[in-house]
Amino acid sequence: MAAMQRSFMNFVSKSRNIVGVNPRPPSWNMNRNRTVDQALLLATENNVCSGVDFQVRFASLKAVRSRMRSVASISKITKAMKMVAAAKLRGVQARQESSKPFTAGLKSFLKSTFGEIEGKETSGNHLVVAVTSDRGLCGGVNSNVVREIRKLLHEDKQNQYAILLCGDKGRDGLQRLYRNLFVVTIKDVFRAPVNFTQTCVVAEEIFKQKFDSVTIFYNHFKNAISQIVTRKVIPGLDIILKHAETFDSYEFESDMDSAQTLTDLYEFQFAVQLFDALLENATSEQAARMSAMDNATRNASEMYQKLTLTYNRQRQSVITGELIEIISGAEAL
């Protein structure tokens, strides 16, 4: 290994001697720089030939090289982030798949009962729950949710809205226009893998608010490439109790009175639906981050290739300039 390194160094110094290139300009040039700059200014003003330019090019060589180094390190970081996001996506997706029977079990029951009630009343206080991530660099998931909420709030002028934020990125997007509508912000929802107990805590926070219906905005995970903003509307408890006759086709087995049973059932189904939304959003976030970091890595390597070409061109013109200087100096003798 050391022998290889030594022979490589020999090769480099030999090539330096052949071509006469010194990556650092000799120290006496430093003192000339100010006068050189003035001369350059005059030269460009009078359209004189660019024999004086090569010292300016030394500086831009360094600039290009430092840019190349920073782009290379960025591409390493984004590549690592992509790997991490891919690993996390596998984990969350597995959890989401295994929780599907749980969240889907409610669907037929809900469609025949809550679905009937949902269309009946649309006015009153609405609570908007914005499910976003805490950290950025995840593509369009958060901005899509924020955009849908802004559209809803802009179009619907007659109802009262309040916003409950689950995740910091929603706050960044909505606080300019709708800061006065914020009620609660819940942070670090997605730091640990989403589980049902944590969802119940969030649901309890939601139940402390007064509302006639809840609209949950989240990203539905279709596949690793496509995540779609979805809107889930759940009527409020008061409306459900008002239309309790929709549940008459079902016999209720419970040791409490019917209003309490309905309340319990309502809270349970709300927690299940919220759990579904949070899990899907967590999966969408990882998938979007993976594809965003993949694009960033690709762009960074493209940029690196272009910079390499520029650097080589610059380097060759520096060498050519020095050669010309040496040769014309030798001829003058």
Binding site: F102, F196, E251, E253
Partner: protein, 166 residues
């Protein structure tokens, strides 16, 4: 020529057969469709049964143990801590559930439990220890909320204990 005739003959036969099947189908639908119960028994993290065809399922509703056979009346049952028994082909599988809801509809039954474990996986000593801890927590509780939480713990642990003993 013959093949064409043959094909049309067969398709005619098939259609007539299908029509007859349909006619018969309507009459026997109640009897034939009741062979098996379609069951989904799931927790938030994993599913114990997913669209499985079983003979019967017994779960602990708040009003007592409730058995569901195919063609049960549509029901919504709140679960209390207890044992869910899934009977398929004569085999019985027992699981302990902490709470949840069961939805029985015309086509299927869904049991959504917050937590479920196989009865064989419960450890007797751990259950007894938990029961003692919760009972002492009930006595030393300072406010209503923590007392309610300790009470729930006592309920679940005693249910586990009686499930293991029976």
């Amino acid at each position: 020529m013959f093949s064409l005739l043959g094909r049309t003959a067969v398709s005619c036969l098939k259609q007539r057969f299908q029509v007859q099947m349909l006619k018969r189908g309507f009459a026997d639908q109640v009897a034939q469709g009741t062979e098996k119960l379609k069951l989904s028994f799931a927790t938030p993290t994993f599913a114990l049964r997913k669209d499985a065809s079983v003979d019967m399922v017994v779960f602990p509703a708040a009003t007592g143990m409730m058995g569901v056979l195919p063609q049960h009346v549509p029901t919504v049952a709140q679960l209390k801590p207890g044992v869910v028994t899934v009977i398929e082909d004569g085999k019985e599988d027992k699981y302990f559930v902490s709470s949840g809801f069961a939805f029985v509809t015309k086509d299927r039954t869904d049991i959504l439990a917050v937590e479920a474990v196989r009865l064989e996986d419960l450890d007797k000593e751990a259950v007894q220890r938990g029961l003692n801890e919760c009972e002492s927590a009930v006595n030393s509780a300072s406010d209503e909320v923590s007392q309610a939480i300790a009470q729930i713990g006592v309920e679940v642990h005693s249910a586990m204990k009686s499930a293991l003993e029976s």
